[in-house]
Amino acid sequence: MSSVERDDFLSSAAPTYSDTYGNPFETNIPLRMESPAIEPDDVPLPGQPRTASRGSPKASTSPAMNTLPSVSGTLGSSTTTSASSAAAALSGNLGVGQASMSSPIDTLDEPVTETLLRDLRNVGAKLKQVLYPKGGKDILRDWDLWGPLLMCLTLSIVLSFRAPQDQAITVFTWIFVIVWIGSAIVTINAKLLGGRVSFFQSVCVLGYCLFPLVIASVVTVFVPSMIVRGPCCLAAFGWASWASIGFLSHSNLANRRALAVYPLILFYFILGWMILIS
């Protein structure tokens, strides 16, 4: 009896060894296919959960099964680790990124208007947060590009309406290109300077910050007088810059902040100027 237990112990110990060091002749195919998928998640969770989850199935299976203790033991352990790490990754993603998107509401049966309105309300909530950046900034973690697209389209359509007849297309193109390429370049610039900003989050913030300029462009449609339009555009430019700089202050730029802020100001200035002269 003691010899059997010894055998058992040895045969169950050997596969764990081969699993750790990846001997191709002793492990079976599914295990080897699974291992790279687990790899990245292993690093942040050093040691502890892995040994713990491996220990329990081994202990339970090794006395009972004499035929193939090695296979069942390692299979069980590896699937539990992969399942637990996958669950951890999933919950991590949910917790960090899409907190407000994964709402428990059943969206299958609702009318389309409700869906659209919910998106619009979402955009509105973000807009409020962007335009008065003193409050919390949590909503913007969950970025979207609908708001920026709305701003960009409104701005370019309003300006191209007011453009001289033969230039409407040029104006539309330029505004559209400046808004998207411009915000992308400003973001890449901040990244290049060593700031820790997420690309789409920053593009989203920059797009939402266009809102004062959109208001200014609508005002200029109705007021032709330069005396009103000048201060209006200036105020919109100042507001947009102030709001977006507030968001940039989190990005850990240290002494290079001015270098990241300058392109931002240039970006809003040129848009403000286009609104002014249109």
Partner: protein, 242 residues
């Protein structure tokens, strides 16, 4: 250019230096995740961060009294060239639209802006700031002058800085003043370019270096004239149309 050389010339705080060095010291798999300032692979955006280091180098180009390559101290960057030329594009557009509206006001006609000027400014300025230095670099490389592409881009990019005040001042509705301004701008940046490029060019044979130098001057003159006629040019009619 080694990492060490690139960093030594740039002012960074001690904290960052210590972090950089500590990151490269012993191998620790967890540090790579925690410490974001660890050396980055070449395909990541962060790798290029060192080319974008700080500069108040613009003034050294507007008042070219020192050798600019010494001012850069062996650490040319791309932030300057890119944003200076972008600023030049926008300043040209803003200045020319102000100038046009002044002209329209003085002529008594209605002002209509011209967005095609922006397109043109983008094309002209980016071509000059990026394509021409690349061509010069390729030519000098071919003739064995051992040029540095980043230095060439920096030279041309920073050389554009003079056009910002020139464009701003060219709003003035005096034709003679604008010619003088363009002359000053073109002259100063031309002197700047040639002075800093000469040490590189002189490594080639006398004949080829002379030809390249002349080509550089011709390109530069062409840019100045182009800017003058496209952006700093507006006519005020003696008799406003009734």
């Amino acid at each position: 250019m080694s990492h060490q050389g690139a960093y030594s010339a740039i002012e960074i705080d001690d904290d960052e230096v210590s972090r950089r060095f500590s990151a490269g010291g012993t191998f620790d798999p967890h540090r790579n995740i925690q410490d974001q300032t660890a050396p980055k692979p070449i395909w990541s955006v962060e790798y290029y961060a060192k080319f974008f280091d700080v500069l108040e180098r613009c003034f050294a180009t507007v008042i070219p009294k020192d050798n600019f390559l010494e001012v850069m101290g062996g650490a040319p960057d791309l932030y300057g060239p890119f944003w200076i030329s972008t600023t030049v594009v926008f300043v040209l557009f803003v200045a020319s639209s102000i100038a046009d509206s002044i002209a329209a006001y003085m002529n008594g006609s209605k002002y209509e802006y011209d967005f095609r000027q922006l397109t043109f400014a983008f094309g002209a300025v980016y071509t000059y700031a990026f394509l021409v230095p690349t061509l010069v670099w390729a030519a000098t490389k071919y003739f064995g002058c051992q040029p540095n592409l980043l230095e060439m881009l920096s030279l041309y990019g920073y050389g554009m800085a003079i056009w910002i005040p020139v464009a701003a001042l060219s709003v003035l509705p005096f034709e003679l003043a604008r010619w003088i301004l363009v002359g000053i701008g073109g002259g100063l940046s031309g002197v700047f370019l040639i002075r800093n490029m000469y040490p590189v060019l002189s490594r080639a044979e006398a004949q080829t270096s002379k030809i390249i130098l002349i080509l550089v001057i011709i390109f530069h003159g062409a840019l100045a004239v182009l800017l003058k006629f496209k952006f700093f040019n507006y006519t005020i009619l003696d008799t406003p149309p009734k």
